[in-house]
């Protein structure tokens, strides 16, 4: 038995050794304190979400950073699935082991900042280690937590839009959405499209937080108040769902069943990309993908992006969803992390390499360079120009609190699906949805 134990141990020892050797060293070399004069050095890790294209463009920026800072090594880790990225980040935050530079979004920032997983960046901004002078102040302010401290520096702005196949609309002899169009105008316009084309004109959007947010903002409310409490009321949610059910019932939009089937489809398989529908609510950063897919299916069609419907004063209901970079509380190489964030935000070559792949760049100087670059597609430039328009409109700031993903992205889907197949329950379901939202946020 002793001999067998020895043999077994010897057999497994290399295995454990090999598996351990698979791991790379995660030790980082602490550099000098923030604000010190020494060049940053050591290792940092950078976590972000995105598919292959995003990974390649991010790697291009990292390669440029390595040339500028040869003593710093950035190890990237990417997750293609957006929801999986947050699941992973949550566990890492609970284990006090987030990446040195985790990518954040203003809509989910509260879940991490309020729980102390992120380090305040105010000192780094004040010392100039992170230069935000070319980013609009209102945009920078969106990266603040409930306590007023800066936890994220936004680098990319995404926003909802009404995508329109202008070629189809032109063939139907209809006008395009005018500046400041309202929800009422939209409903009438969709009715004209569906009547002339004999097909639904738009997707089902009753279970999407993007459109609920626009509806709320055009009715004097927001998803969250500035203190992190739930801001939207049951009456507003019910009004939004009644609007959607009206579109479904009148054939102006896809059916409820089609809405469920299309819920999880990537943008390339959505009806507008396939030439099967002339309009769709979707984030504007997908316009290049929609255009390229449509060019393959039915060449000669042009996609244009328009703001969300407006309230009566003409201010669209758009909110800016800002992706940004943070430094985790457990990061032990803050100077290198700050140098990387500063480079990512401000380096022009880096901006041209990244091509605003995750929202339009918030750096106004780099935005100008991208608009002038021949490497940026016309479709991408439409998105960038719309962002310029929106950022010049003095949109009311948007606030987000805890459990945004759970409440307004997961619960909203199931709540609307129950309403869409049982229309008489709109008011009661809306009331329950808001009640659950308040419980989930703790406020």
């Amino acid at each position: 038995m002793k001999r067998r134990t020895l043999v077994t141990t010897i057999a497994f020892a290399p295995l454990v050794g090999a598996l351990t050797a698979c791991g790379s060293s995660t030790a980082t070399n602490p550099a000098s304190a923030p604000g010190g004069s020494a060049a940053p050095s050591g290792d940092i890790s950078f976590a972000f979400w995105g598919g292959q294209q995003r990974v390649e463009r991010t790697q291009a920026v990292i390669d440029l950073f390595h040339k500028a800072f040869p003593d710093v090594t950035v190890t990237p880790t990417a997750t293609g699935d957006f929801n999986a990225y947050w699941q992973q980040s949550t566990v890492q935050a609970a284990g006090n082991n987030m990446a040195s530079v985790p990518q954040m979004q203003n809509r989910t920032l509260a879940d991490y900042a309020d729980r102390g997983a992120l380090a305040p960046l105010d000192d780094l901004v004040a010392s100039g280690a992170i230069d935000v002078s070319n980013i609009p102040k209102s945009v920078v302010a969106s990266g603040r937590g409930k306590d007023g401290k800066q936890y994220m520096i936004p680098y990319g702005a995404a926003f909802a839009s009404l995508m329109v196949d202008t070629t189809v609309i032109g063939k139907l002899g209809l006008e395009l959405p005018p500046e400041g169009y309202t929800w009422e105008w939209l409903s009438d316009w969709l009715g004209q499209i569906s009547k002339k084309s004999g097909a639904p004109a738009i997707n089902v959007f009753g279970g999407t937080s993007d459109e609920l947010e626009a509806w709320a903002r055009t009715h004097g409310e927001q998803l969250y108040n500035d203190d992190g409490t739930v801001g939207v009321t049951a009456g507003t949610v019910a009004g939004f769902w009644n609007y959607m059910m009206g579109l479904i019932g009148s054939g102006k939009s896809q059916s409820a069943q089609a809405g469920v089937e299309q819920q999880k489809l990537p943008i390339e398989q959505q009806p507008i990309s396939q030439g099967k529908a002339p309009t769709m609510f979707w984030p504007a950063n997908a316009v290049a993908t929609v255009q390229s897919t449509l060019d393959t299916i039915t060449p000669g069609h042009e996609i244009q992006v328009f703001p969300m419907p407006s309230e009566s004063e003409g201010v669209p209901g758009n909110a800016l969803w800002l992706s940004g970079l943070s430094i985790s509380k457990n990061c032990n190489n803050v100077p290198a992390a700050a140098a990387f964030i500063n480079f990512f935000l401000n380096d022009k070559d880096g901006a041209l390499a990244f091509q605003s792949d995750n929202g339009v760049t918030t750096n106004t100087v780099n935005l100008g360079a991208l608009l002038a670059a021949s490497t940026i597609s016309d479709a991408m430039k439409k998105q960038m120009n719309l962002y310029k328009t929106l950022s010049g409109m003095n949109l009311p700031p948007s606030y987000y609190g805890k459990a945004m993903a759970q409440v307004f992205q997961q619960n909203l889907i199931s709540a609307f699906q129950s309403v869409s197949f049982a229309p008489g329950t709109v008011d009661s379901t809306a009331a329950q949805f808001i009640k659950d939202a308040k419980q989930a946020t703790g406020k």
């Binding site: 038995m1 598996l19 880790t77 995404a158 990309s273 396939q274 897919t293």
Partner: protein, 307 residues
């Protein structure tokens, strides 16, 4: 009809008008065995096609350009391309699917060895041996089956972080050698309990101890449970996404499940055709492993150790 004559000692039959029993179902059109066989096979094939339709759809769309994926319900319609396979298999800085396949295979094989090693030993101990605390430990084992993963995920992550095992395969493999897959332990326990004790006693008479009985008698008879454990352990390890997602951050160590997710980007550009192509390839090792162990499973069921 004959009239009975009393006293003559002959039994006669009194004719009774025949009444045929009424049929609930109409008579079958043909009693031909060939027709019955064809009908049975046709129904079976139809059911198989329906059940396999999602796989057929996936394979069909893996040969279509991205823009044409999902446009048709029936296969073999629309443009055909091999670009999805070529581009998916081409190593890139952002993704090397070949390395991911190898990584998943390594984890799968090591997981199978670990589970077979640990679960068979623990199953034998619970199924055959008597020791102090056996009932309590078995209750804890059953309790582990009931625990949702959300309860253990954070403590496990913290444990592995403190051990310095993050960004290695150790968190995915080492627990298998510690019988943490309670389901397979329970499978082994139930199987062992079903084996007759006569062989154990015969082996002990011949001088075998506990381990000798396990190695010479129990383990050969466990082949159906071993095949089941091996098959499902490999499938689970191959398909596991959450574990690798949490513990593996180096993209060169990504498993197949992590690599496949890189083809889809809800915030950017996706390659659905490439995803289907690589998913099709990723299913092949699973089918191969299942077919190999299915034979072993069948042979194990056919033999019992008694002559």
């Amino acid at each position: 009809m004959t009239t009975p004559q009393p006293g003559m000692g002959q039994t006669v039959e009194v004719g009774v008008a025949e009444t045929k029993p009424s049929r609930l179902l109409p008579r079958r059109a043909s009693k031909s065995r060939a027709v019955q066989a064809i009908a049975r096979h046709a129904v079976t094939i139809a059911i198989v096609i329906i059940m396999l339709y999602p796989v057929i759809w996936m394979v069909d769309n893996s040969f279509k350009p991205n823009a044409f994926v999902g446009r048709t319900l029936l296969p073999l319609q629309g443009p055909f391309t091999l670009k999805n396979y070529i581009s998916g298999l081409t190593p890139r800085a952002s993704l090397n699917i070949g390395v991911s396949f190898l990584n998943s295979f390594i984890i799968g094989v090591l997981s199978v060895i670990g589970n077979l090693f640990a679960c068979s030993l623990v199953g034998y101990a619970f199924g055959r041996l008597e020791f102090a605390g056996k009932r309590i430990l078995f209750t804890i084992l059953i309790g582990m089956l009931l625990l949702p993963y959300q309860v253990t995920i954070v403590p496990q992550y913290i444990l592995f972080h403190q051990l310095g095992w993050l960004n290695t395969y150790l968190p995915l493999v080492v627990p298998k050698y510690l019988a943490t897959d309670a389901f397979f332990v329970y499978l082994m326990v139930q199987f062992v309990r079903g084996l007759p004790r006569d062989l154990d006693e015969a082996a002990r008479i011949d001088g075998c101890g506990d381990f000798g009985v396990f190695w010479r008698i129990i383990l050969p008879l466990l082949s159906p449970a071993i095949a089941t454990t091996a098959t499902f352990t490999f499938i689970h390890a191959w398909n596991d996404f959450l574990g690798p997602r949490l513990y593996i951050s180096d993209m060169n160590k990504y498993t197949v499940s992590q690599a496949l997710v890189q083809f889809i980007d809800s915030t950017g550009q996706s390659s659905v055709g490439g995803l289907f192509a690589m998913a099709t390839l990723s299913v092949i090792p699973l089918i191969g492993f299942f077919l190999a162990t299915q034979r072993w499973l069948t042979e194990g069921i056919a033999t019992t150790g008694f002559k």
